[in-house]
Amino acid sequence: MSRNLILGAALSSLVVLAALVSFVWTPYDYAALNIPDKLQPPNAQHWFGTDHFGRDMFSMIMVGARTSIAVALVAVGIGMALGVPLGLAAAARKGSWLDEVIMRGNDLVFAFPSLVIAILITAVFGAGAINAIIAIGIFNIPVFARITRGAALSLWEREFILAARVSGKGAARISAEHILPNVANLLIVQGTIQFSLGILAEAGLSYVGLGAQPPTPSWGRMLADAQTMVSFAPHLALIPGLAIIVTVLGLNLLGDGLRDWLDPRIRVARA
């Protein structure tokens, strides 16, 4: 196992662990206002300091991890659940109208960056974490559809698929039995990368007020709140930012590590 994989897995599990622990324990009540203790820099009582309402930053970061992970994870789930079958179907019916419709649909969705989708949804239904999930999730669909189709297409050319067809197996069965298991590694790696992109997107959306709404803490909104105070309380901006960086870095390293780790075996099989 590579250094990337170990470091990435360690950082990612650290963040996931913080999110899970926050359900049962945080050092302070993340929502409790404590004006006398406001804007404390990091210290022994408050490891990450306090914000302008005297709330404990460490607790907020832990709960914020929950929001980030939940949004990004569900969004990746949406992308995979819809994108992968679409990609498999498009590849199985390469060149047909179905393929054409799916691919054109993909192109169309690619023309709507998740922020634009979020703007549209918010304009119509109002802001909220669900919007962020839908916006990021929709954008993930073509990502997974495309990567699945691309990998599946090259598999369909392979002789073991022809052999399966000669044995009378249909497209759906071949997709499930032969194609999907052979693209699974690729999807796991891409899933990790989309997960990290989802964390970034969620932070951006909450920062401009299109994501999770108060009182749910989220890293993006903590940064938005910190903006006017950055000159005299830089820790307010530094800490949530570092939390995002650590998470995204961890997931990216994990993705790279997984790719290197899973790939040689694919190559052995192919060589």
């Binding site: 392979r158 002789e159 073991f160 022809l162 052999a163 399966a164 067809r165 000669v166 044995s167 009378g168 197996k169 032969h178 298991p181 052979n182 694919i266 052995v268 099989a269 192919r270 060589a271």
Partner: protein, 532 residues
């Protein structure tokens, strides 16, 4: 004095020994062929001369070009030599050229990079060498891009690049392996002509002994990174010393004897089959053109018969194979197995599927890497209405694995645990397991080394006796088809131009194309078999 002298060349790559004490020499105007099976180190020898070894390569010994050792030369000197004093031609013409640069630019680059002459003269020289290799600028302007040329034409461009500066040494690494026989014959002629015209030395790397025997002045046989035998072609062929050399020659011209089992009942009847492909439109409002891949093909395959189908790439034999297998529907005509159509109502007919199986060319791409052998070879059970279960199934798996020369215990292994030849055996087991009436072998031995190929051919002959096989053997390799079939069809441009008893067709071809094919194929001299 010799032009190139390789003396005790040893090579390790990341510590793994690749070459051991290789020595050979080439005189000006001489053609030296280095031959051997995959893993023999023949290509690495060529790359070592060019000093274009993969990362981690460590060479010791000496490679002297006109007396100067190349191994001790700094990289700058080597850059000055490559392309100017040593030219190189590679195996795969489809990928050896930069797709985004015109052929003229690529040929001129050889000249300009060595600052051999100013641009206008370089252009003239490029036109001159392209003409010499058979691509005159009036028909093949310098502005053409590689994708506009065929494989053989691209190989000519690669040769033009290699000889543009009249190098004293030309290295050709399997230059015709990726080409059809007729193209191969032309390229070999071209190389031979260039050698005598320019007085170059040619270091030819090839696995094909027939090519070697035909072309080379001297032969070097390699195995596992070592030279096992070398000598002047004539005398080496007449008097092979090393058992490996003898084995190689025997395997290259390997013959099997098939049992007689033909019955008069027709099994597969193909009548007037046509398969068209749509071509992309030329203009926006043009009607799309058609390419007729298979054109009015008719033939009958009798039960117990072993029928061959030969032809060059693009002749339509793969399309015909796919149509027979029911993978693609044909536009016109009829394909019937025991009277039943392969396609019924635009859907493959399962009744026919049950009676047909296939073995493909690529031993590496033919299996799902995630399944065990047991699951791989039982896949055809899917097409049966009552597939065998339980002990019956296990017995059948064991029987099939034994029949193809593997152990029943191999059923639990994954495919990557097997060599190419073993994989091809597994592919045959998979085809046999439902006892099909007809098996299609689609270039089934083309990707194998000669010794392995000989073993698989032996296996086929054995299976013919044990299971009364009927098969259609599709191949571009005439010598293989000659020994493994009773009857043969020759296909050209979508049509079957000749068919008949295999020996009859080969000894007395009627159609001019058949004659061209047979003449173009290099033939092993008979000397080897006399010794063995």
């Amino acid at each position: 004095m010799s032009l190139l002298d390789i003396e005790n060349l040893s090579l390790t790559i990341h510590g793994t020994p690749i070459l051991k004490q290789v020595s050979l020499s080439i005189a000006p105007g001489e053609i030296v062929a280095v031959t051997g099976e995959s893993g023999s180190g023949k290509s690495m020898t060529a790359l070592a001369v060019m000093q274009l070894l993969p990362n981690g390569g460590q060479a010791t010994g000496a490679i002297r070009l006109e007396g100067h050792d190349l191994l001790t030369r700094p990289e700058v000197d080597m850059c000055a030599l490559r392309g100017a004093a040593i030219g190189m031609v590679f195996q795969e013409p489809m990928t050896a050229l930069n797709p985004v640069k015109s052929i003229g630019d690529q040929v001129m680059e050889t000249i300009l990079i060595h600052k051999a002459m100013p641009r206008p003269q370089a252009r003239e020289r490029a036109e001159e060498v392209l003409t010499r290799v058979g691509l005159p600028p009036d028909r093949f302007p310098l502005t053409r891009y590689p994708h506009e040329l065929s494989g053989g034409q691209r190989q000519r461009v690669v040769i033009a690049m290699a000889i543009a500066l009249r190098p004293t040494l030309l290295i050709a690494d399997e230059p015709t392996t990726a080409l059809d026989v007729t193209t191969q014959a032309q390229i070999l002629d071209l190389l031979r002509g260039l050698v005598s015209e320019y007085g170059m030395g040619l270091l030819m790397i090839t696995h094909d002994l027939a090519v070697v025997a035909d072309l080379a002045d001297k032969i070097v046989v390699m195995r596992h990174g070592e030279v096992v035998e070398e000598g002047v072609t004539e005398s080496l062929l007449r008097n092979m010393q090393h058992p490996y050399t003898r084995m190689l020659f025997e395997a290259s011209g390997h013959k099997v004897s098939l049992p007689d089992t033909i019955s008069p009942r027709p099994l597969l009847e193909v009548t007037q089959v046509v398969r068209d492909y749509r071509l992309p439109r030329k203009g926006l409002f043009d009607t799309p053109g058609h390419h007729r891949a298979v054109d009015q093909v008719s033939f009958t395959l009798k039960r117990g018969e072993r029928l061959g189908l030969v032809g060059e790439s693009g002749c339509g034999k793969s399309t015909l194979t796919r149509a027979i297998l029911g993978l693609e529907e044909v536009q016109a005509g009829d394909i019937r197995l025991e009277g039943e159509p392969v396609f019924a109502g635009h859907k493959p007919n399962p009744a026919v599927r049950r009676k047909m199986q296939v073995v493909f060319q690529d031993p590496y791409g033919s299996f799902n890497p995630r399944h065990r052998v047991e699951r791989l070879i039982t896949e055809p059970f899917h097409v049966l209405e009552n597939p065998p279960m339980g002990a019956e199934r296990q017995d059948l798996i064991a029987e099939m694995l034994s029949a193809v020369g593997l152990s029943p215990k191999d059923a639990d292994k994954y495919i990557h645990e097997f060599s190419g030849g073993q994989r091809q055996r597994i592919a045959i087991a998979r085809a046999l397991i439902i006892q099909p009436e007809l098996i299609l072998f689609d270039e089934a031995v083309s990707a194998l080394d000669v010794s392995v190929r000989a073993q698989i051919l032996d296996l086929l002959a054995e299976l013919c006796a044990a299971y009364d096989l009927t098969y259609l053997f599709i191949s571009h390799d005439l010598s293989v088809v000659r020994t493994i079939t009773d009857r043969v069809m020759v296909m050209q441009a979508g049509k079957i131009v000749e068919q008949g008893e295999t020996e009859q067709v080969f000894s007395d071809p009627q159609h001019p194309y058949t004659r061209t094919l047979i003449d173009a194929a290099p033939v092993l001299p008979d000397i080897g078999s006399q010794v063995a």
